[in-house]
Amino acid sequence: MRKKFLIKKRVSSVKKILHVLSAIAIFFGLFACQSNHIEIKKPPTDRHQPYNYVGHKGMVVAAHPLAVQAGLEVLKKGGNAVDAAIATAFALNAAEPFASGIGGGGFMVIFLAKEKRVTVINYREKAPGHAYPSMFLDEGKVKDEWRRIHGLAVAVPGALAGWTYALKKYGTLKLAEAMERSIQIAEQGFSVSATFSHINKDEYEKILLNSGESSPYLFEGLPYEPGDVFQNPNLAKTFRRIAAHGWQDFYNGDIAQSIVEAVQNKGGLMTKEDLSSYSPIEQSPLKGTYRDYSLYSIPPPGAGGLHTIQLLNIIEHWPVRSWGFDSPGYIHHMSEAFRFVFADKARYLGDPDFVSVPIQQLISKEYASQIASKILPHNVQDSYPPGPIDKDLVNNHNTTHLNVLDEWGNIVSLTQSINDFFGSGIVPSGTGFLLNDHMADFSPLPDSINAPRPHQRPVSNMAPLIIFHKENPFLILGSPGGTRIFPSLTQIIINVIEFGMSLDEAIEAPRFFSYSTQGKARSLFVESRIPPEIIHSLEELGHTVEIRDAFDKFFGGAQGIMILSGKKIILGGADSRRDGAGEGY
């Protein structure tokens, strides 16, 4: 009896508490409705827990919170998506210097809302004029270090020229205005994250080799520890110089001279003429479809967009929804598709300014159907040859990622890189920025369609995307991650469209990757969150499975924006595999 009474008493107390809590919630709810401020929840302490940033007018998502702030400030002051994207890109050079910057290159896909037009700016690096197909062979053997940590590894940077072009044509800010925040970040510094420190330690040998113990990317000759303050006064000085003298100083002036000296001192071939002759190009986007979605991305030499379209075309033939997310059947079929697509990449992809690339055939539904029919449900193949392409039909037309959406509906999806983390490790004297090692994206084999030739652009895996659903922008997406870029992006798209995940859930979900080289299957790499019984089933199908970390940056660092209900709700998703962040307003 007493027990019953006590329980009743407790229930009644709980009820009272709930009433009070509800009253408080209603009060604050009403208060929130009355104010126009968007309540932005703080991201969860566990950074791997899916979290969607929310906005109603605009959104910036990028690989570092300081870069996000730089872009958002521009948007809030009335700048458009292009202004904000360039401010974010400069800020990334200061805050995430190991992944991109003025020493590298990239691509951006821009949607101009008023014109309902998508355009692409290609500011991919180019090979120096003295490049030649066998430049990475030493007595017939490939010298891999020449491709990555040597002066020969450095391609002519295109980032600054591309950003300037975009600002002049589609932005409203002056170059110096877009750089303001990045100068502040470089001068004042910021606290180094665990990701920065880990990558700094990983690339220590290269940094030591090419810029010595006094490198701006080392602290007292050693890698930065989490919590250390990283400042880069030389980069701030370089940015100030560009702000004062214009971008031409980088391609024709003193900075150009420093670049050439640094590259040649390390055995490279770049000349001042290579820099002064560099120009970005504006291109029509590549378009594909998946069910009732349209996808726009970059054309070759960007391979990522093309292969994402190709993969989605193949997946249209499969009942992936009924197979289920991370089922052995789904992972097996996808991995097999990756392997066939990589065979095509090696065979057909090059710089269309120099070689014929059968773009329309590769992204056609018929071609995808042929590949889908080759994939066996119960075992891996013995070989993965590139598909047959009718040569008469060949047409000659034709790594950080950030997304910006402004209040007018303009969009920028931008992926750029200096290739490997910390690029070539070469820092031109006194400049504070890293030079890329994008010559490694050329094939070292002289008879490859993608062998280095003078002024040619190497094939890139980048794939900045904008996806439309019935004419309306729906998903803006991209990722770094080298060869994993387009397989990862395809998985995220399928996670959203087929498996009904929210944006960040789709980004954080466990990933897998496989590829083929010279017709042979390579390992199937999986994040350790994929259950052991699934891995066992995959091994039974003939896959050699390699287990990576639970959230492994090997699989990229995707950033996305999702636009819902005709732009009434904007969601941002940033990958916790790196230091991704977002903010809306």
């Binding site: 665990a194 030591l208 890698p223 090997f554």
Partner: protein, 193 residues
């Protein structure tokens, strides 16, 4: 009053517990001699950090990322820098099994020749994980002394292994903090400063 006494006794108890935790002192450190052979266990770039730390400490050291037992020659201390990097293994042309057997052979040879082993883990929390932990559990027990960047020992793995084996363990806040202890360890008489 009761509450006050309770709080006081709690504080006292905590102080007692803290005082009872044995702290490694320099008197417990082993006597180590030069020259050193610094090698990797797992091919992470942390081995290069160890090379620079040894240089900063003014030690005579040879850095050989994939050293073999033949390189022990006149070596008086073997330094094993533990941490797996798949990329590093790829560059070295080694797989995990090959790396494990190379390090096993080297450590065995050092033990047979009475060459003490100093283990370093410099990569912090980010350089932990299934693969690195395999090397840690396999080779730490053979160490004469262990140094670890503190964040790498958040779960107490180093404390457990070193405690079980009675191995002096030194936790470092930062990698640079290894320089002074290295100087002390390799002083001619190894006298506490």
């Amino acid at each position: 009053m009761k509450k006050c006494l309770l709080s006081l006794s709690t504080v006292l108890a905590m102080v007692m517990v803290c005082l009872s935790i044995p702290e490694e002192t320099r008197e417990d450190w082993p006597r180590l001699e030069q020259p050193l052979l610094i090698t990797s266990a797992g091919q992470s770039a942390d081995v290069q950090i160890a090379g620079v730390l040894a240089k900063k400490a003014g030690l005579t050291a040879t850095l050989s990322k994939a050293a073999t037992e033949e390189e022990l020659g006149n070596i008086r201390t073997l330094v094993l820098v533990i941490g797996v990097s798949m990329k590093g293994l790829g560059v070295a042309g080694l797989d995990l099994d090959q790396e494990t057997s190379r390090v096993s052979r080297l450590v065995d040879a050092a033990q047979n020749q009475n060459i003490p082993l100093l283990c370093l883990h410099l990569g912090g929390e980010a350089r932990r994980g299934t693969l690195s932990d395999q090397f840690l559990t396999a080779f730490l027990p053979f160490a004469r002394m262990v140094m670890v960047v503190k964040s790498g020992n958040k779960d107490g793995l180093f404390t457990r292994i070193c405690g079980d084996q009675n191995i002096p363990l030194l936790e470092l806040e930062r990698t640079i903090d290894a320089v002074d202890p290295l100087k002390t360890l390799f002083q001619p008489d190894n006298e506490p400063e």
